[in-house]
């Protein structure tokens, strides 16, 4: 499939993105559909690139920071010939170069690895500043999700971007008002607030708050940036998550769920079959590979307690102790439902802000509560490592941290979401911390002991429970 850039249409990209998701039973369809127009107009009319050479030095750079919602992005790159068909259709298999979250592959014009949120903007600011310093005219565009704007790193980067007067940087917020779990207004950053905040970061005339599905509005804003930029530019593109597929539109349930699973009828069955053959073929190959090299990891994955088992084991303690609070890093569908329903007054979705989540948990413990943290392992153990070391461990606070996705459980999502068992090595450095990496029964027994010892005089240690 190869298309001239001027023939790209939003309709085509949207249909192909849906097909892509259905073909591979891939979950992040809704976040991909909200940025269809944003990407299409950008690639069709404005971004400077060379279809013959993806590494052309004069190309503009697109940093796709909401790395999970990448299907429309992949579809466009495939249509323009940057991502070859065999790679494109083998998405989702173990051996595939194309990952569930954007992974740095310059030959496909994938400019930066993203997927761990809040990483794209600092990278884009660095790129833009380096072009500026070298006197180059390349432009940098960074597309960020609105949920992602909860990450403090974005605000660290924004301050620098303004200071460097980066008139070659365009920041687009795909404001679909939904993060993985919830409406953003419930977490603390509704789009209107976000718009007000970002306005304070740029000069007059460089800020656009527009409908992100309106091609003309997008075109006008892009034109202003690409042809007559006065400074750091920000577009708040108000979009609808899942735009185009009625059953998933603005529905938080479908952040990571292919609508096929719920009876969505997708026409193109022939393609599915073709791909099924391909997938099963590669899957066997991988299986062998795993058996020979990764035996230990495999068995570990199977025996580790699942997140549901861990949270269920914690539930009775949580239910009987009004002092326990749960802080959630914007995840936990199906696993934490009962917590959210039964104890809404002491369960908080803190949003995508791991550093602050750990800091706040420390504060809560110091203030007399008993917090539990629930977050993905890489973002908890690495992004908030300093807070874990200093705020929790150096104070020896009995904060319970539940890490989800141990031992590459989320490998389909790419390297951003998995770190082998390196989290153990990181956490081992902290002498106060107890690490629990056990199966369901092991976790239950540990918790019994842990909560027993609380009745004794010694304060409980911080606990790190790994789960898949």
């Amino acid at each position: 499939m190869k298309l001239k850039r001027e023939n790209l249409t939003s309709q085509f990209v949207r249909e192909e993105s849906i097909a892509f998701s259905c073909r591979h039973n891939a979950g992040h369809l809704a976040p991909s559909l909200s940025s269809v127009e944003i990407l299409t107009i950008l690639f069709r009319e404005f971004l400077h690139f060379n279809t013959e050479n993806p590494r052309d030095l004069s190309r503009d750079r697109l940093v796709f920071s909401k790395g999970h919602g990448c299907y429309a992005y992949y579809v466009i790159l495939n249509a323009l010939g940057f991502i070859p068909d065999d790679v494109f259709y083998s998405f989702g298999t173990e051996s595939s170069v194309l990952k569930g979250c954007v992974s740095y592959t310059p030959e496909f014009m994938l400019e930066a690895s993203t997927g761990s949120l809040g990483h794209g903007l600092p990278i884009a600011v660095g790129m833009a500043q380096s072009f500026k310093m070298q006197g180059k005219s390349n432009k940098v565009v960074c597309i960020i999700g609105d949920g992602e704007m909860q990450e403090g790193s974005n605000f660290e980067a924004l301050a620098s971007a303004y200071r460097f007067k980066l008139d070659n940087l365009l920041i687009i917020i795909d404001a679909n008002d939904l993060s993985a779990m919830d409406r953003l207004e419930h977490i603390g950053l509704p789009n209107d607030t976000l718009s007000r905040i970002l306005r304070a970061y740029v000069d007059e005339g460089c800020f656009y708050d527009i409908n992100g599905h309106n091609e003309n509005a997008l075109r006008k804003a892009y034109k202003h940036f690409f042809e007559d930029s006065k400074g750091l530019s920000i577009i708040i593109a108000r979009t609808i998550k899942g735009k185009g597929v009625a059953m998933i539109e603005s529905n938080a349930k479908y952040h990571y769920r292919c609508p096929l699973q719920d009876g969505f009828v997708w026409q193109d069955k022939a393609k599915v079959k073709l791909i099924e053959c391909q997938t099963s073929h590669t899957a066997t190959a991988t299986h062998i590979h795993l058996n020979t090299h990764k035996n230990i990891t495999m068995s570990k994955i199977q025996s580790l307690a699942t997140k549901k088992q861990v949270m269920d084991a914690l539930y009775p303690y949580f239910a009987s102790d009004e002092k326990m609070v749960l802080l959630v890093g914007d995840m936990g569908f199906a696993v934490l439902d009962s917590y959210f329903i039964q104890f809404s007054h002491r369960v908080f979705n803190v949003g995508i802000a791991e550093q602050a989540m750990v800091g706040m948990a420390a504060g809560m413990y110091l203030g007399g509560l008993k917090p539990i943290i629930y977050a993905q392992i890489p973002f908890l153990s690495m992004r908030a490592y300093e807070q874990i070391r200093y705020d929790v461990c150096e104070h020896s606070l009995g904060v319970i941290m539940v890490g989800v996705g141990a031992d590459n459980y989320f490998k389909a999502l790419g390297r951003s979401h998995c770190m082998d068992s390196d989290d153990i090595r990181l956490m081992e450095i902290l002498p106060q911390l107890q690490i629990v990496s056990l199966d369901e029964n092991g976790v239950k027994m540990t918790l019994t002991q842990y909560f027993d010892s609380k009745n004794l005089s010694s304060p409980p240690p911080p606990l790190y429970i790994r789960s898949i």
């Binding site: 750990v358 800091g359 809560m364």
Partner: protein, 300 residues
């Protein structure tokens, strides 16, 4: 105020008002003297220990004088009411000298403790350590940690009253350089929705951080607009005018808002000692005996 008094016909009222005025003056005078004493103590500590960060400590001396003198409800640790105290967190913990000097001035720390500052085998480190005293609420020194912790603390004490029947407060003092840390904004985003009117954030805006002017390094201004945009109640005051700061905080505490307060206090780094004022180098320079004596002269 004088104009108002002369208009009163009733001599009883006149006497009453005069006495109120004298009380206010007395109090103002007392706060002024307290701030002066604390500044002297800071200089003496810095001179004895030969430790850096004198500029940062002097810049927040008035703020700390106010907080410990008028704002916090803080019984001694030996009293049973101590558990219902108000909480103060010094997030810009490199100004620990100012904290120790204030605690000493108001009788929470002994002379011996202060003398163990910044020396081998001593009692008080240059950045705060929670275990060193019951009045030190958190270990700090890595910037950007104070606000998230304060938000957590404030959430955990919602509804708890101190002996005076007021909601327990959490007050946190941050530096303006520190406001660049992303964790600050993560917490700032989260707090306004949680009914934390008893959370008060003070920003010591002296516009000089470790290696430059904050306003030149980054575009963190307009600070007021940013905090307001995040949903905070935000005010900007002269951080050396104790009366004004007190009025802003009191107005907030007495109002029925459910938003937390961010008070941006415009200060001068090294305030009080002319040759240190607004000079970057006094973030690091040590206070030698000669400097100490010259500085004391300037303070008077």
């Amino acid at each position: 105020m004088f104009g108002h008094i002369t208009m009163q016909k009733n001599p009883q009222h006149f006497v009453l008002q005069i006495s109120i005025l004298m009380l206010v003056c007395l109090r103002r005078c007392r706060m002024y003297n307290a701030a002066l004493d604390i500044r002297k103590e800071i200089l003496s500590i810095a001179n004895r220990a030969k430790s850096p960060h004198i500029g940062s400590a002097l810049s927040c001396a008035d703020i700390l004088t106010l907080i410990y003198g008028e704002i916090l409800y803080l019984p001694y640790a030996s009293e049973s009411e101590f558990k219902n105290r108000d909480i103060f967190l010094l997030s810009k913990a490199h100004s620990a000298m100012a904290l120790y000097a204030s605690l000493h001035h108001y009788g929470y720390m002994s002379k011996e403790q202060i003398e163990g500052y910044y020396c081998n085998g001593g009692t008080l480190p240059a950045h705060t350590d929670k275990t060193s005293s019951p009045y030190i609420e958190m270990s700090a020194g890595s910037l950007g940690h104070g606000l998230p912790i304060a938000v957590g603390m404030a959430m955990s004490i919602i509804g708890q009253k101190n002996a005076q029947g007021h909601q327990r407060k959490v007050v946190v003092l941050m530096g303006d350089g520190e406001v660049q840390e992303g964790s600050v904004w993560e917490a700032a985003m989260f707090a306004p929705k949680q009914n934390l009117a008893h959370l008060i954030v003070l920003i010591d805006r002296n516009d000089l951080q470790g290696y430059g002017r904050a306003s030149e390094l980054l575009s963190y201004e307009p600070l007021e607009q940013k905090w307001s945009a995040f949903g905070w109640e935000c005010k900007r005051v002269d951080g050396h005018n104790i009366e004004l700061m007190k009025e802003s905080i009191m107005t907030h505490c007495l109002s029925d808002t459910n938003k937390p307060l961010a008070l941006i206090c415009d200060t001068i780094k090294g305030k009080g000692v002319g040759f240190m004022e607004d000079k970057l180098e006094w973030h690091y320079y040590l206070v030698s005996d000669e400097v100490y004596h010259n500085a004391l002269k300037e303070l008077r």
